[in-house]
């Protein structure tokens, strides 16, 4: 039987999981800053409010407000990109990702390890000093490029085994969490009850949501241009072909958990939990979700997603 010769330490599985989560997080942070920057360039009513919602999406609003009095482009991008006291900043995420990668070095191909190590070196060079506003686009591009290189090395060189699965689960759990948070921060503008008249401001907000998950172009291919709140919600929650949607993420998580179940010959609770979530995402319609309450749906999702993470850690002995 494949996989029986190999033994994976629980600590290593944990390291792989968090390595991937933090790489994904670094990339998501860069995308959030990008979105915020774009917004600051267009004159909206209140840039500070928009930055505040960016911080909420990033899950670091409280931490930010403890350090800074005001929201401005400089302090926000500093906090999200460089600040090591913010454990989710790009630099802190890369440090943690690399530390975990070092810990599981023996599980990774040389290509994956080197791509992570090189990304860390490149970002450390770029992010040690405050970033000049003029350099911001190239810095954000570089972050996305480095994480893309890691993903490429990972997908291209890693054997599909338990090592791959734990890393893959980490990536998808982080991504699902990120998409859900972005939606939750802006849920009110997607609600049909809001008097949506397609004002330019709303249009802008919807673009913002799509852009922050790199979906502003692909959305148009799928939904023929119109920014309809229902379509946007469908795209990011239920569309199984959209690589950042909740349904897509859970499809991948379930695949990996099923592979683990097969290889180990033991079925754990985590697969039941993830499976239940996936079947809900498969059968629900946007109408159902709006009826349940978009905010309620998303909050529950974020909570369940975190619990699934804990369940996986327990099932696969991440800790003593």
């Amino acid at each position: 039987m494949p996989g029986t010769l190999l033994m994976l330490l629980g600590r290593a599985a944990n390291g792989l999981y968090w390595m991937s989560r933090y790489i994904e997080r670094a990339e998501n942070m860069a995308r959030l800053v990008d979105t915020g920057q774009r917004l600051a360039l267009t004159q909206t009513s209140s840039p500070a409010d928009e930055w505040a919602s960016v911080m909420t999406s990033a899950g670091v609003r409280d931490a930010f407000e403890q350090c800074y009095d005001e929201y401005d482009a400089r302090s926000v991008s500093d906090f999200l990109l460089r600040d090591l006291s913010n454990s989710s900043s790009v630099m802190a995420s890369m440090e943690t990702a690399r530390m975990n990668a070092r810990m599981v070095r023996t599980s990774l191909t040389r290509e994956v390890w080197e791509s992570i190590n090189e990304a860390w070196m490149a970002l450390r060079r770029m992010l040690t000093r405050p970033i000049d506003e003029r350099d911001m686009p190239s810095v954000l591009d570089a972050i996305k490029r480095e994480t893309a290189l890691i993903r490429g090395a990972f997908q291209g060189t890693m054997l599909r085994n338990e090592i791959f699965d734990f890393a893959q689960i980490g990536t998808l759990m982080e991504r699902a969490d990120n998409t859900a948070r972005i939606l939750d921060v802006k849920y009110y503008i997607l609600l049909p009850s809001a008097t949506w008249v397609g004002s330019s401001l709303d249009n802008h907000q919807w673009q913002l949501i799509l852009r922050s998950v790199s979906a502003h172009r692909s959305y148009r291919w799928n939904y023929e241009g119109d920014y309809q709140p229902g379509n946007i919600a469908h795209y990011l929650i239920l569309n199984r072909r959209m690589p950042r949607s909740l349904a897509f993420c859970y499809r991948g998580i379930c695949d990996s958990l099923e592979f683990l179940t097969e290889e180990y010959g033991t079925r754990h609770k985590s697969l039941d939990r993830a499976g239940a979530k996936l079947s809900k995402l498969k059968t629900a319609t946007v109408g159902d979700i709006f009826d349940e309450g978009l905010h309620e749906f998303l909050s529950e999702f974020i909570r369940d997603n975190a619990e699934l993470g804990n369940q996986i850690a327990a099932d696969y002995r991440f800790y003593e």
């Binding site: 033994m7 330490l9 629980g10 023996t106 390890w113 080197e114 190590n117 090189e118 734990f166 003593e320």
Partner: protein, 469 residues
């Protein structure tokens, strides 16, 4: 004094370097400097770094690598191998004796006090016979050369010697940088070291182990200065890299926590010091070890490489008795010489050492890594006086040796080739038989005239070639 240069004899290249010199003379200086930079990039990218204790600024540093190989002829090597084999056999016989009948003490060949009062002697090991009867499985013998035919053993590293990953990565890098050189010159391979290590460890598996033994490398963790090497070796051998937190004793076996529960381990290549190995037996505050592993070990249910307590064999106070030890257990004179050593614990020696500080190298008996030593000729008067005070306060803590004129080997500098002092650490594997890969780690003092080759003190490394001739 002029040191023996291994590459040049007057205007000519010495025989082992002839082919290399031919090649070197055809190279463009700019291209070679470019290659040096390439090498550094390779090391940075692969993350071969080490941590320097007490240096928080540069938590991760590269050991400088020099692209000029250190070349040893097949004939020179074969002689070294004989000497090394004799020495590691004597070391293991000594350990077995010292933890059992202590014949060597009864015979009066070494003084009892030197064992009884020695921290490196572990009473917990008395009467314990490790699986396969091997105590020190992996040994790094530090050898220096002073003349064409004069080799001395400077130190036997019988605990957890490090540096073998540099031997392997240095070769890998050289082959990437200069593939044509390896076609031109026949260099014996070192790449099979991890495979030999695995074989060697497997051969000392405990008696009860049937089928393929489960082997693991125990590291203190990713913050340890040699972590890269621990991960590298585990990876190359295809075995697990574990930390203390992954292990626990279950049903009389040491087991590791995998994603599918606890799985027993047969052979543990530990890179954790004795003190930290078992908090129930040694340091109770250690979080790096495995509570109860010593009980499993004493019951013969796990092999630990190297065995606890091997430090007594490479202790610097014991070192001075190595000629007697080799003769006592092998019945023959030592093939490899010891450096003459004054034991400062002895009053006559202490007086001599204090009088001749400016000519001697004084080392702490338990020190390592070049810390806490005095290189007399290089030290200022003030430094020597300060050291003399320490010496008088705790004489038994020190030994002294003449300052050897270490051989030199050229490194590539901005101004071309320039000689620098080198030493050599071949790695020796002992189990059912002795395995030695032809090569080792050459450490080089990068500062002109310096005799200190330790990486923590500004030393670098070179690829070491043993010729197939």
């Amino acid at each position: 004094m002029t040191a023996f240069d291994e590459m040049r004899l007057g205007a000519r290249a010495r025989q082992p370097y002839e082919a290399y010199e031919d090649w070197f003379n055809q190279q463009d200086a700019g291209r070679l400097n470019e290659k040096s930079l390439d090498a550094e990039r390779v090391f940075r990218r692969t993350g071969i770094t080490f941590a320097v204790y007490g240096d928080t600024e540069a938590a991760e540093r590269l050991i400088p690598f020099d692209i000029v190989p250190r070349i040893i002829s097949g004939k020179e090597w074969r002689r070294l191998v004989q000497g090394i084999e004799q020495r590691v056999q004597a070391l293991n016989a000594f350990l077995d004796d010292i933890y059992h009948r202590q014949e060597i003490l009864r015979a009066g060949r070494i003084p009892k006090e030197i064992i009884a009062g020695n921290e490196a002697f572990l009473p917990e090991m008395i009467g314990v016979r490790p699986p396969g009867g091997v105590y020190t499985h992996i040994i790094g013998v530090d050898i220096v050369r002073t003349e064409e035919n004069e080799f001395f053993v400077l130190e036997d590293n019988a605990r957890t010697p490090s540096g073998v990953s540099y031997m392997l990565e240095n070769r890998e890098t050289m082959m990437q940088l200069f593939p044509e050189l390896f076609q031109k010159i026949k260099v014996l391979p070192v790449e099979n070291y991890p495979q030999l290590l695995r074989e060697s460890l497997g051969a000392v598996r405990p008696k009860g182990c049937e089928g393929k033994p489960t082997i693991a490398v125990l590291t203190p963790g990713s913050f340890n200065s040699a972590y890269f090497e621990h991960a590298f070796l585990a990876d190359q051998m295809g075995v697990e890299l574990v930390e203390g937190q992954d292990l626990r004793v279950i049903d009389g076996r040491v087991a590791m926590r995998t994603t599918q529960g606890y799985k027993p381990i047969d052979v543990l290549y530990r890179r954790v010091d004795d003190d930290f190995l078992d908090p129930l037996t040694f340091r109770p505050d250690s979080a790096l070890g495995v509570p109860g592993i010593m009980d499993v070990y004493r019951a013969g249910n796990i092999a630990i490489a190297n065995a606890p307590g091997t430090g007594i064999a490479d202790d610097k106070a014991i070192y001075s008795y190595m000629p007697e030890i080799v003769e006592f257990y092998t019945g023959r004179k030592a093939i490899l010489q010891n450096v003459p050593t004054w034991r400062c614990a002895e009053a006559d020696s202490l007086a001599y050492v204090l009088e001749h500080l400016e000519e001697l190298v004084v080392k702490e008996v338990h020190g390592s890594g070049g810390y806490g030593m005095l290189v007399g000729p290089a030290a200022s008067k003030k430094e020597r006086e300060a050291f003399a005070q320490k010496l008088k306060a705790r004489p038994a803590n020190y030994i002294a040796q003449p300052t050897l004129s270490l051989s030199t080997c050229p490194i590539l500098t901005d101004g071309g080739l320039a000689p620098r002092h080198v030493d050599l650490r071949p790695f020796v594997l002992v189990s059912d038989r002795i395995r030695i890969v032809p090569g080792g780690l050459t450490r080089v003092a990068l500062k002109e005239g310096s005799l200190v080759v330790n990486s923590s003190q500004g030393g670098g490394t070179k690829d070491t070639w043993v010729l197939d001739d």
